[in-house]
Every structure is written in C-alpha cells, then in structure tokens.
C-alpha cells in the first residue's frame, strides 16, 4: 500500500515531555475511507498523538502525515482538507454560534451554508443566534461538530466527541459520522469509552502506554482474545460422562447439577446444547458472552496491577 492510500500515517512517532514519554515509537496507519476508533484509557497518549497530528505539539522524533501531507511542513493545505473537533476546545463566548460556523467557512474558503450545518447538528436558528458563552456543554459540542463539517473534509478528526453529549446527542453524532463516511470521508475518532466506538468503527486501535496494543476490527479482536461464550446448562440429573467430540467447546465441567462449557464460536453453542440434551434433561440455559468491555479491559488494564505494585515497592525502598 502506498502512502497516499493512508489517511493518517505515523512512523516511529515519539513525544517526550520533560523526560516522560507520552507516545513511544508509534506506527499508526489509518486507511482512506474507513472509520477508525482510537481507543485507550485516559493517559495512554491518545491526546498527545492527536496534538501531534494537528501540529499543536512537535514530535520529539518520528514523522506524521495525513492525506499524504506532512503535518508540520504542509500544515496549511492539510488543514484546508480536514475537519476537527479538538479536545478541550473553547468557543468565543461573545460570538454567536452562527458566527463561529461563518468563521470556519471563511478560513476554509468554503461555500457551505452555516444555517444548514447548524441545523444538521441539531442547533435551532434561535440557538445559533445566541452567544456561545450561553451554550451548555452539549450545545458547544454540537457547534464544534458543525465547524468541523465545514468544507466537506476528506478526513474528520474527532477527539472524545461524545463527551458532554446526552445519549440522544451521541446517537445523532454516530449518524453524522456514518453519513460523512458514506460521502467518502475518513473518520478518526478517539474515545475512552468502548461502546461509542464499537457501534461505528470499521477498525479500532487500542493505545496503551504510548504504544498500539492492538489494531483490528472489533470482531477480529474479540476472536483473538478467544473469550467465547460461557454456556451453563442446568440439568435435572447429572450425565454419567462429559459430552465429547466438541472441538470448539473448551473447559467442559459437570458439577452440582450443572454442565458448563466455553463455546468459541456461535454454532458451537447449539451443538453443545444438543449434545448435553442427548445425555440429560436440560431445565435451564444461561449464556454469558464475553463482552467487548472485557476485551478492552484485557488490553488496557492487565498491567495496571503491576504498575500499582511497582511504585509502592520502589517508593518504600527509596524512602
């Protein structure tokens, strides 16, 4: 794949602040036309990565480009073609919502109708006329999104776009993300909340300690973790032997009037239930899917215990 097919590409991207490494030799590749969810717990380096991509912060080493343009050297032509909702953005308290969108239109030399964009993000004409200083967090978030949509950008970068939105607003945001993607835009958005990403993202990248812990589609990531589904069958009388010949069912146990097994694929669940019913009378079935939350947690928190433990020991020694 050539560089120009990538909407975002970083190579060996490293940023250190006063000796603290925020991102560590990050190689990130987001393909044109995809919706990419950038996940990770707070402090993993998501914001620093996006700050470097937007040239808010200079990298210590490494390179970053978007739409084939260097994020620093070709910043101006790049920023004509991207739309951004930055994290911790601020609005001009004394300017109206409409004026904000008009500004973005002017800066991008675009021809969008500000009122149409404001309507699209769910701000009424009356709200659009009010100074942004009177906006709630959710209204501000909608306004920021309207500004990002100006000029039909080839790449949308949304940093924690759902913070401050109510569930209804979050749903509308997802709809807009999908519409923009349908139009041909690449969407790159970060979140520390998995469920907001899984609904729309084609692929996700999980960042941990400044490095990519995983990049793949959500289905693939779930399978790699082979969490499977735990199927628990209550039986009236325990079967004499464990069911056999079930390659996709692991850890089969017979115990206390219950037959339990971990099914690695959907069909295995049915086969498992059928085989147990051949052996005993099943009175109840319970299935627990390993959730994406667990998957996310397994990628991002497995070392947390170590991290908690190490400073305690080191601190104890030094003190």
């Amino acid at each position: 794949m050539s560089t120009t097919d990538l909407a975002i590409e970083t190579r060996g991207l490293t940023k250190r602040f006063d000796g603290v490494t925020a991102i560590d030799a990050l190689d990130l590749a987001v393909e044109s036309g995809e919706v990419f969810g950038f996940l990770g717990p707070n402090g993993a380096g998501k914001s620093t990565t996006i700050n470097v991509l937007l040239d808010f912060v200079s990298p210590t080493t490494g390179t970053a480009s978007m739409l084939g343009l260097d994020v620093q050297a070709e910043r101006k032509s790049l920023h004509q073609r991207i739309g951004v909702v930055p994290e911790n953005y601020g609005l001009y308290d004394r300017l109206s919502g409409r004026r904000h969108v008009e500004l973005a239109v002017e800066f991008k030399s675009a021809s969008d109708d500000p009122d149409a964009l404001l309507d699209r993000v769910g701000l009424s004409p009356e709200e659009a006329s009010r100074p942004a200083g009177e906006y709630s967090t959710g209204m501000g978030q909608r306004l920021a999104l309207a500004m990002a949509l100006v000029g039909s950008p080839d790449l949308l970068i949304l940093d924690e776009p759902t913070s401050g939105l109510d569930p209804n607003g979050a749903r509308e945001l997802r709809a807009i993300i999908l519409e923009e993607n349908e139009r041909g835009a690449t969407v790159f958005f970060s979140s520390h909340i998995l469920e907001q990403v899984e609904a729309v993202a084609d692929r996700v990248g999980i960042l941990k300690d400044g490095q990519l812990a995983a990049v793949d589609s959500i289905e693939q990531l779930s399978q790699q973790l082979d969490g499977g589904a735990e199927v628990t069958l209550h039986v009236e009388s325990e079967p004499q032997r464990k069911p056999t010949g079930l390659p996709n069912v692991r850890d089969i146990e017979v115990d206390d009037g219950v037959v339990r097994g971990t099914c690695l694929e959907p069909e295995a669940k049915l086969t498992f239930i059928d085989r147990v019913r051949d052996l005993a009378t099943v009175s109840d079935v319970r299935i627990e899917e390993s959730s994406l939350e667990e998957m996310f947690a397994s990628y991002t928190t497995e070392d947390t215990a170590d991290q908690d433990a190490e400073p305690a020991v080191a601190g104890g020694v030094e003190a």
């Binding site: 620093t48 040239d55 808010f56 930055p86 953005y89 001009y92």
Partner: protein, 266 residues
C-alpha cells in the same frame, strides 16, 4: 486572507469586551479631565499646556495598550479557542499578525478618542493650538501601537494569562515608571567606572533615555512641534524617535512569534 479574517474576528470578539472598553473609558476620562483642570488653572501658553498634557497621556495610554493586548493569545490559549483556530487553516503567524491588526485597530480608536478629547479640551479652553493636534495624535498613535506590540509579544511568550498580566505590569514599571531612575543609575555607574565624566550626558546615554516608547513619543512630539523634522542632529530630529517607535512595533511581535512557533499548545 487568514490574517484579515483573524483580525476581523478579533475586533468583533474583543470589541465586545466590556472590560476593555471600561479601562479605555476610565483612562480617556481621567486624561481629558486632568488636562481640562490643568488648562483652567494655568495661564501658560497653549503649547506648554499641550506639552504637559502629552507628558500625562504617555503615562496613561501605555496601560490601555498593554491591557488591550496582553491577553490576546493567552486568553485564547486558556479558553481553548486557540485549539479551534489552529485546527482551521490559519497558522500561528497568521493568528499573531491578525491579532496585532485587530488590537491595533482597537488601540487606535481609543487613542483617537482620548487624544482628540484631550486636544479639543486644550483648544477649547485656550483657543488655539490646532496645529499641534496632528503631531499630538500621530505620536500618541504610534506609541499606543508600540505598547500593543509589546503586550502581544508578552501574550505570545506567556503560558498563562496571569503570567502575562504580571509581565505587563513589570514592563510598565520598567519602561514608564522607572526608566529615568535606570538612566540616572547607568549614568552614575558609568561615572563611577570612569567611563564618562560625572554629570555629562553622552550620546549613548541620550539614546538609552530615548528607548522606551513613551520617551520616544515625547521626543517625537517635541521635535516635531519645534521644527525638528529637518534637523540634522539625530537627538533634535523627529526621525530617531520615530525609528525607535517603529522598532518597537516589530521586535516584540517578532520575538513573540519565535516563542509561539515552537510552543506546545496542549
């Protein structure tokens, strides 16, 4: 294109700031008021009253200039609106220049109102001195813009609005309040070291005395009204102080840009 849009945005936004207009109004009223009292209480010629009014205005107008500009960048940095601007096409240079244009326009409005009000008070009370109004307002306009440039430079290098305010106060104290003392100290120190004769005032010392924009503005005004436009001695000409004032427009903004260019906007 971007520079102009930033400037117009800034005018619209900062122009609606009540605090900025309140400070401007207080300074203008204070200056025009004291000048009026001066004009009524004295039987001095109109030129002398203008001179005294000028000496007064150069103390007050720098406060307006510094106050107008010191939050131009830090304010947007603290509110996060700088992140919005920088997400759009304008570069840091565009933003700094646009802010300079916008705040200078505000400053010139304030100067024009203040200068014209003060000048008119003198003309009205003493009848005459119209010909002094031009140099009076021109020198003040240039000086006001120089302090906007200094305030903007301060804003560009400061990480927070609080620091920018402290920096601006320190600059006001050094350039406006204490410069005579600093100059006298330098003179005494140089005499002590035997570099100059005690009590003498060599050219380099005169030049140091001319460095602050307020001092340069006084020199520019006085040399202009006393016919120094065609003088050959730099210290009695209007050109040297004008060049000093022009340097104050460029240097602080340039230095501010060098810092802002590499700053992390996190």
């Amino acid at each position: 294109m971007s520079v102009r849009t930033v400037a117009r945005k800034d005018l619209a936004d900062a122009g609606r700031s009540k605090a900025l207009w309140a400070v401007t109004l207080v300074v203008v009223l204070f200056t025009a008021g004291i000048t009026a009292m001066l004009g009524m209480a004295t039987d001095q010629p109109v030129g002398e009253v203008f001179r005294l009014a000028f000496q007064l205005v150069v103390l007050t107008l720098p406060i307006v200039g510094l106050f107008l500009a010191k939050g131009a960048i830090t304010g947007e940095r603290e509110s996060g609106s700088l992140r919005v601007l920088l997400s759009l096409p304008p570069s840091r240079r565009d933003i700094l220049l646009g802010k300079f244009l916008g705040r200078t326009a505000l400053m010139l409005v304030a100067t024009l109102v203040g200068g014209v009000a003060t000048g008119l008070v003198v003309v009205a009370l003493l009848g005459g001195g119209f010909e002094l109004l031009g140099p009076f307002i021109l020198s003040l306009g240039l000086m006001g813009t120089a302090f906007v440039a200094i305030g903007l430079g301060i804003s560009a290098v400061s990480a927070s609005d609080g620091r920018a305010t402290a920096f601006a106060v320190a600059v006001y104290l050094v350039l406006v309040v204490m410069w005579d003392l600093i100059e006298a100290g330098l003179q005494a120190g140089a005499a002590e070291l035997g570099l100059v004769e005690a009590g003498s005032h060599p050219a380099w010392l005169q030049f140091i005395g001319l460095l602050p924009p307020n001092q340069a503005a006084i020199a520019a005004y006085e040399t202009a009204v006393s016919g120094g436009v065609f003088a050959t001695d730099p210290f009695t000409s209007v050109w040297l102080p004008t060049l000093v004032l022009l340097a104050w427009l460029v240097v602080p903004v340039g230095a501010g840009y060098l810092r802002l260019r590499n700053a992390d906007i996190a």
